[in-house]
């Protein structure tokens, strides 16, 4: 694209971000401050992930971008087009074909390989932020590995709700040292982070932080012995592909209680349908109206 450097960012910015990424990899789960730049879209739209992707991407890469698991949502389409325009790289919707996958709020259902890099868009990188507002304090808490306040929060969940009510952005302990926000992925995806063969990079543009989980690194969801971590389950199968082990979105189909449960990972669902798997195709219904 004329008038812009490859991948939009200038080379000095890329070097600064690359140095931050290397330090992030060397201290898994620790948030490295970086000089986040103004991007041609507002903070909150994935500027952190975009800056990380722009700093690692090369002409040979194949890029996939997902938003809540889907390749065809506004955020994913815009970011994919942005990189197609500024780098000329090949883009794809197939998980297995991509060398870099930028994601908002999901990890693909298909297991990632050692040849892939997963880039997360992160809104609030500090897992302790809602418990302690001061950056000086949270920094000290990470320095001292003083995470009691997080366990108190999870305990209060159990005391109030009878279970740990956190269902997304569920805190994890990385490399037995740093408590980390996995970004707002559903806790369903947390187990995929543990010992993942792919490198995982996290970029928070507004909050100006980069962090990383190297391949094959311990990522443990915080829990208690008597209240072990549990991921979500569904009574239903995907209405389109019949999958019973993927993360399902609930889609409201009418104003009479009609619901459809479908895979949130569009590529996973499409691949299963191509392979001949079919769901019921029908909504399920709840409530009094449905009995009419």
């Amino acid at each position: 694209m004329r008038g812009y450097n490859f991948a939009y960012l200038d080379e000095q910015t890329k070097r600064m971000i690359r140095r931050a990424i290397l330090k992030a990899v060397a201290v898994p789960g620790y948030q490295v401050p970086f000089g986040s730049r103004e991007m041609p879209l507002p903070f909150g739209w994935g500027t952190g992930g975009i800056q990380v992707t722009a700093s690692i991407i090369g002409a040979d890469d194949v890029l996939k971008v997902i938003d809540q698991g889907a390749d065809d949502t506004t955020n994913a389409v815009s970011i994919r087009r942005f990189f197609a325009l500024t780098t000329g790289v090949r883009t794809t919707e197939e998980t297995a074909e991509a060398s870099i996958i930028q994601t908002r709020h999901r990890i693909p259902e298909k297991p990632l390989t050692a040849d892939q890099i997963l880039v997360y868009q992160v809104p609030i990188p500090e897992p302790l932020r809602w418990l302690e507002a001061r950056e000086t304090e949270t920094r000290k808490m990470h320095a001292l590995a003083e995470y009691g306040v997080m366990h108190v929060k999870l305990y209060e969940d159990i005391a109030t709700h009878g279970r740990i009510a956190t269902s997304y952005n569920y805190p994890v302990l990385v490399n037995e040292r740093h408590v980390m926000a996995p970004s707002p992925i559903p806790k369903f995806d947390n187990p995929k982070m543990d010992h993942m063969p792919a490198l995982q990079l996290f970029g928070a543009g507004r909050e100006k932080r980069i962090y990383a989980v190297p391949p094959y690194t311990d990522v443990k969801s915080l829990d208690f012995e008597d209240y072990p971590f549990e991921k979500q389950t569904w009574e239903h199968a995907c209405a389109l592909c019949g999958s019973r082990d993927s993360y399902l979105d609930e889609v409201v189909t009418d104003d009479r209680g009609g619901r459809m449960f479908v895979c949130s990972d569009t590529d996973y669902c499409a691949e299963r349908r191509d392979a001949g798997h079919v769901g019921t195709g029908a909504p399920v219904t709840y409530g009094a109206d449905a009995a009419e």
Binding site: E11, R19, L22, A24, P33, A59, K140, L199, P214, P215
Partner: protein, 198 residues
């Protein structure tokens, strides 16, 4: 006017620094893995092509650079780095964000370099050590983040106390320096997170 001739830097600064970075990212996220940085140009002695390329890709005016006597003394090499990277060259190892060691046998202990602070462990040095050879099928046993079960790394021409230094460095975790070994066009990294056993 006859002056010292400075060798050219990366042939294609944008594409080459990206591929060098991906190489070192791969090495850093998989400690002990040997990465071949292909297609590098010549480097001024005593810099190896890989060490020179790492500097050209990562070092700039924001990152004070420390050079050992071998590099600082080789007029071509110091001028090359000063010209292409534009970084301040510092006299004391503890002031450096990046350090280049060409004569590994004479290098100062790893503890001379900045390990960062408990609040900001990222503000630590990255030490590039040129060595005679690297092998990943023998030598020390590595484990930790980035390593599936166990990796091996043998460093030829390493300082005698290297592995003691590396163990002490790991003991500082999450503080500590990160090492990139460079041999010819090949690199291997040893971040502070890696555990080393003899």
């Amino acid at each position: 006017m006859a002056g010292p001739v400075i060798m050219p830097g990366l042939a294609d600064p944008v594409a080459d620094s990206q591929s060098v970075f991906r190489g070192v990212l791969h090495a850093m996220s998989r400690p002990g893995t040997i990465v071949h940085l292909a297609g590098l140009g010549e480097a001024p002695a005593p810099l190896s092509p890989a060490a020179a390329a790492l500097c050209l890709s990562l070092v700039d005016h924001d990152t004070p650079l420390w050079l050992d006597c071998a590099v600082a003394g080789g007029q071509g090499a110091a001028d090359f780095l000063r010209f292409h990277c534009g970084s301040p060259v510092v006299a004391r190892p503890e002031e450096a964000v990046f350090a280049v060691v060409a004569d590994a046998a004479a290098m100062p202990p790893l503890s001379s370099f900045d390990p960062g602070t408990p609040e900001y462990p990222d503000r630590s040095a990255t030490v590039i050590i040129q060595v005679a050879g690297l092998a990943d099928d023998a030598g020390m046993r590595l484990s930790g983040p980035g390593i599936e079960a166990e990796a091996r790394l043998r460093v030829d021409g390493a300082p005698a106390d290297l592995w003691d230094w590396v163990r002490d460095n790991h003991g500082l975790y999450p503080c500590g320096v990160d090492i990139v070994f460079a041999a010819g066009e090949r690199i291997a990294a040893l971040p502070r997170s890696t555990r080393v056993e003899g």
